[in-house]
Amino acid sequence: METSSVTITGTTTASHARGRRSILIRRFLANRLAVTGSILVACIALVCLLAPLLTSYDPLEMMVQDRLKPPGSSHWFGTDDFGRDVFSRVVYGSRISMLVGFSVVAITSAIGLLFGLYSAYYRRLDNLLMRINDGLMAFPAILLAIAIMAALGPKMSNVIVALSVVYTPTVARAVRSAAITVREQTYIEAIRALGGKAQRIIWRHMAPNCLSPLIIQATFIFAYAVIIEASLSFLGAGTPPPEPSWGNILNDGRTLLKQAWWMTVFPGIAIMITVLGLNLLGDGLRDLLDPHTNKAKR
């Protein structure tokens, strides 16, 4: 008897979850901006994965006889001052941006989730962690990243470390504020009263309920990471040349603005499409998952 009631409850919960998921998917598909954002992000991801198939030129290969060629049929985005094909540099540059974005999102989400949940559950720890958080958030993002890069040296892995330090507090704060609301719910109190262990409450009951703000933040952090990586590389403190990164292609183009506008325009458009796609997706996810902004927008 007991078994069958458990089965019935289990089936009902699973069908509820499926129903909720299909409602969310339908609402997401009805949000034109979010769908546009997803398509843009998917296109960039495809460019990044299929880079070798999209261009026959090596992004590092110098063809001095072809230097500063304007866009044409042989070089779609023209060539730079070393005769390198700008199209293939922009295409391969997407790999750096995507890699930095993904790594930063993965690291900040993992550490931010940990700090946010523990901070919300253990009130004594909260004071300490949130003061550290406030201190880190007092630095403008790009400035803290530049200072860390100055100490560690220009290297792509260091860009990931720097941006992870910069954005973990933002994730931790978002998770904490969601987790505090969850902590006060009656079902958490009930689990505690039934003798539920702290770790189980945190990871099994609180964490899944904090995933919405985490996903929303992660999308925006991806976008910020792409912009800041480009800015750091533009300043000469990010991914070092000759590795193609959108930022250092723009930096190369800066001094040749009069002669070679294509070196400035195309990598910038690539950054714009990526960041716009991520922002549209983030806005769409927020509309979908955050009831507060949903209400405000109506």
């Binding site: 201190g135 630095f139 300043l235 800066r254």
Partner: protein, 316 residues
């Protein structure tokens, strides 16, 4: 109000301490000997020893922090070995252009963003709302340095209307000053303007749903009076917050913009110091900007306790 101000100031002290500790730690992240990194491979052992002594690198770390924080509290941010002057003097000499640039950028952002945000909220769902918000979204997706490069390409290279780079102080005349700063300020202000416009719209939408707005409309008040006198005033708190916070973001963004337009401000000073590894300047300038950010935050908090008295009662 006095009690509230005091409480807020006291709550900032631990944050400022964390800012100082983080800023101090950054220089110690350098792999190996920071003195060797700063002076390069050509440096003699004697020069290295002298610099290590000057930076206090021979002392235990807690003692180094103690010396450094005592110096900071007395207004001594260290010595720039490349400019051969105190860091405070170097920062002071570069402060003017950055302050001017960020103020003009903020004015441009606010002047465009608030009316656009209000118009979008008033015509919610219309083509105007959608196109303004699409523009705002585009604004937050464009890196400021790329906008700057395109402005140079258009207004300096193609049309030859404005100088491509450089800086003239206010003392050379307001028109001349603006001629050099208008492009950098626009490129810097667009992202902040877009953020403020989005916040204005969403804050206005919340207020426009309130009963007192319906009452004002039912009384037969003109749309402009309802919008600006009743709705915007009540929607100001989140907008003021975003404007306040955007100042700090603008100072951060100025780092890149000043490099693009070759403006001798704090941003350019920091970038140059990064390239020549002048750590004490980086440390000093970053500390100052972070402290300014904390203080601006405090001012914003106090400002909205002033705009909306409910805030100070709630918090106390």
């Amino acid at each position: 109000m006095g009690k509230y101000i005091l409480k807020r100031i006291v709550s900032l002290l631990p944050v400022l301490l964390v800012v100082a500790v983080v800023d101090f730690i950054i220089i110690h992240l350098t792999p190996g000997d920071p003195a060797a990194v700063m002076l390069g491979s050509q440096a003699t052992e004697e020069e290295l020893a002298k610099l290590r002594d000057q930076l206090g690198l021979n002392l235990p770390i807690y003692s180094q922090f103690g010396h450094w924080i005592l110096g900071v509290l007395q207004g001594n941010l260290g010595w720039s070995i490349f400019m051969d002057m105190p860091v405070t003097q170097a920062i002071w000499e570069h402060l003017g252009p950055t302050v001017s640039l960020t103020l003009i950028a903020e004015v441009i952002a606010v002047l465009f963003a608030i009316p656009l945000g209000v118009m979008a909220a008033n015509r919610r769902g219309s083509w105007m709302d959608q196109s303004f918000m699409m523009l705002a979204l585009l604004g937050i997706s464009l890196p400021s340095f790329w906008i700057g490069l395109n402005l140079i390409l258009l207004f300096a290279v193609q049309l030859n209307w404005l100088p491509a780079a450089g800086y003239q102080p206010l003392s050379s005349g307001l028109a001349n000053h603006l001629k050099y700063l208008i492009m950098p300020a626009v490129s810097l202000g667009i992202m902040q303007g877009a953020l403020i416009a989005r916040m204005t719209r969403s804050s206005m939408l919340e207020v426009l749903n309130e009963n007192f707005i319906r009452t004002a409309e039912a009384k037969g008040l003109k749309l402009r009076v309802v919008t600006y006198k009743h709705a915007l005033r009540n929607a100001m708190i989140p907008i003021v917050t975003v404007i306040g916070l955007s100042f700090a973001t603008l100072i951060g963004g100025a780092v890149v913009t000043e490099t693009v337009f070759n403006i001798p401000g704090i941003g350019k000073l920091i970038v140059n110091s990064v390239l020549r590894r002048d750590y004490e300047v980086i440390q000093g300038a970053v500390l100052l900007i972070a402290a300014a950010y904390v203080l601006i935050n405090l001012l914003v908090d106090l400002l909205y306790a002033y705009i909306d008295p409910r805030v100070r009662y709630d918090k106390s």
